[in-house]
Amino acid sequence: MTFARRASAKRIALSVAVAASLVVGSAQTVEELTNPAPGEWPTFGRTLDNHRFSPLDQINKETVSDLRLNWSISLESAIDAQFSPVVYDGVMYLPAADGATAVDAATGDRLWVYQVDLAPNTPPFTAGRMRGGLVVFDGKVFGTTGDGRVFALDASNGAELWSTAVGTLDLSEGFSAGPIFADGKIIVGPAGADMGGVNGRVVALDSESGEILWTFNTVPAPGEPGFETWNPPTAAQYGGASAWTPGVYDPVTRTVIYGTGNAIPWWAGAHREGDNLYVASYVALDIDTGALKWYHQAVPREEWDIDTINTPVVADLTIDGQERRVAILALVTGYVVWVDADTGELLQWEGYNPEFTIHLGYDENGKSIINDDMRWTEETAGEVHLVCPLRWVDYEPAALDPERGIYFRPNTHECYEMANNPPPAGWQPGESAINAALTPLPDRFDRLGGLTAINAATGEVVWDFPVDGYSQRSGVVATAGGLVFMGSADRVFRAFDSDTGEVLWQQRLPAYIAGNPISYAVDGKQYVAVPVGGAGNIMIARQTGAPELVTSEVMVFVFSLP
């Protein structure tokens, strides 16, 4: 089942005329990553504040009906492709769990492949998946590997410039997400808490040398602020709060924001009391020091696998008549919350799932209200509780159309029955500490997956499109052409009218889609690219009406006008 890949980096002569719309320059600057030229998509969210919005409009409501396949390519591996391509200066860069590939963005011709041999004890959750995207900066390509490495390559030929081991592989700590770029630094969030009980972290590296500049512990170490929220303190030694998905950098407030996953073990009971900071939270860090600026904890003392990891969007919004710099956080518990990007002040919140059993909203102090009836005690261990929603969002990134003021939010009405138990006796770090049974309830509501267009300032729903059949785990791209593109597990890649949600164009592809589309331009021609296929793990399907999920090797499909 493994596909052979060209092991050596190949240099292929590349002559890409710089399109008139592009800012000239082979060495990218901080300014170019903060305000990319219209045709470029140099980091995961195109802009550092993660709008996933392309200002290109060649493909628009009028012309989209002529959209057709321009090129496609197989990446010859079968991981869970949950990533986004990035494009700079006519070259597309694609991540993998074990390296990176560069292709000509106009033809798909392969330029080079960088591939490492993953360590044999690489945990499956990081060996078999990749989220986020590569970073292109200063003539280099930055990425992560499943076995915990952060690397920098020469963008012209894929030659390794440096590689830093960040993950503690003995504790099953690797990377499931690519890096983000912030003020000349490369920021990464190692993953793996569920596999081995490792402590979540956000780590900043020097982009020039690969040296680690600072580390923020998402479960505080003894003596660090927040440690006192673990009672007894011994409960803080099992880790948790992994940053499974890329965060966001806001260059305006100079703030890095990362979401964190569940506590370890899942079981709370008498084992751990207190709020258990910073599990199931967003942590906002000062880019210079890594010091905590603020946090927003979705679920204090979570015990239901609450991975609060969806990549935030940061934007200038007018809320209640006041212009603010706002971080939009989409919570796994079914809410979107708007917080001040600099202070974390809760500005407004809105629930979007049809049912809420765990997180019931916020009190007047801006703290989450949790339904304690859904907790387990030593006496009620093993009882089945309805956890709803468990994964309204997961890793799939939203888009923000700044012209229309619409936030396009892929989401899933995904609830589970969960029976939680204390961890097995004799558990030790490096082993799975989870002792829970989960049963999905895919047919509980009218739809499972969907795309919801939300007024970014007020939270009102503008339109909602039910994809149905499956969980919606592909992200979106919005364009100035008045279009939103999204792929789904039903193999269909759709273009929606941004204003109405009407499907203006669609194409059925060979396999399920869980990657994130982008749009870019080469030589004045606009393209839309989407990663397709992969291993298809943890895709929840309706019992009624969902065709069997089609998995495949990972591919990229690229569309343009004739």
Binding site: T122, G128, M195, P222, F227, E228, P233, T234
Partner: protein
């Protein structure tokens, strides 16, 4: 710039010295190559706990104390690097000494330790242990770990292997294929064909205890069945790893 750095280093050295001198009693941390991070005193000497003591109660008195000294609080008790201030406290011993506690556990020094890094009291009388900065005892391993991390137990005869695979196939069809696919291709659970199944310990424990989104099967399956299904998935769909035995499974229960 270089000058500034030198000044900064010098100043931090001064600061450290000042803390050590002014603050009477310090609890800090050190990393031992074998035992990991543990509590030490202000001079870097190892601090111990006694398993007869319980939280907020001193039971180690008289003969128990021979060769040992309660870590007495003199002045302010302060937290060094890696120590949680909120866990520091003191307790009045029956002999009147104010003894430093960590998460309520009384701390001691051992007379046989002379230098930082010495842990000569570790495990003595089966009751003297190190304590980590989370407040948990660091004890000698209760039983030796199985020596081989991967592979192992692979010498089944041809007939035996066929029988084990048969058991495994049946278990797989009944318990596993719904999520991992009838050909190990994956589905709600990860693909097992071409999966990372080298580490027999990890795979066996995953089946017994579950993890990720997978429920535990240790209750539903006996050792033979676990050995069967682990062997089956490690030898099917192009996978080729060693068989495991029921005896090996039983060591992970």
């Amino acid at each position: 710039m270089r000058l500034l750095k030198v000044v900064a280093v010098a100043m931090s050295l001064v600061a450290l010295t000042a803390i050590a001198q002014e603050s009477g009693t310090v609890v800090a941390t050190a990393r031992h190559a074998e035992h990991g991070v543990h509590l030490v005193d202000g001079d870097g000497l190892t601090l111990y706990m006694n398993s007869l003591d319980t939280k907020d109660t001193v039971a180690c008195v008289d003969a128990c104390l021979e060769g040992w000294a309660p870590y007495a609080a003199e002045g302010q008790v302060t937290a060094g690097q890696g120590v949680a201030p909120n866990l520091l406290g003191t307790i009045s011993r029956p002999d009147g000494v104010e003894q430093v506690t960590y998460f309520g556990v009384p701390l001691y020094r051992y007379g046989g330790d002379a230098a930082p890094g010495d842990v000569n009291g570790f495990g003595l009388a089966d009751q003297w242990f190190l304590i980590n900065p989370f407040g948990a005892a660091i004890q000698p391993p209760a039983q030796p770990e199985p020596t081989e991390a991967t592979g192992g137990a692979g010498d089944l005869g041809h007939m035996d292997l066929a029988m084990v695979m048969g058991v495994g196939q049946e278990v797989y069809n009944n318990f596993c294929s719904a999520c991992h696919g009838n050909r190990g291709q994956g589905g709600a659970g990860p693909a097992l064909a071409g999966g990372r199944l080298e580490d027999n310990r990890r795979v066996i424990r995953q089946v017994i205890f579950g993890g990720g989104h997978m429920p535990p099967f240790g209750g539903a399956l006996n050792d033979e069945q676990v050995a069967g299904v682990v062997t089956f998935i490690r030898k099917s769909w192009g996978n080729d790893f060693a068989a495991v035995t029921a005896e090996e499974v039983s060591t992970y229960r």
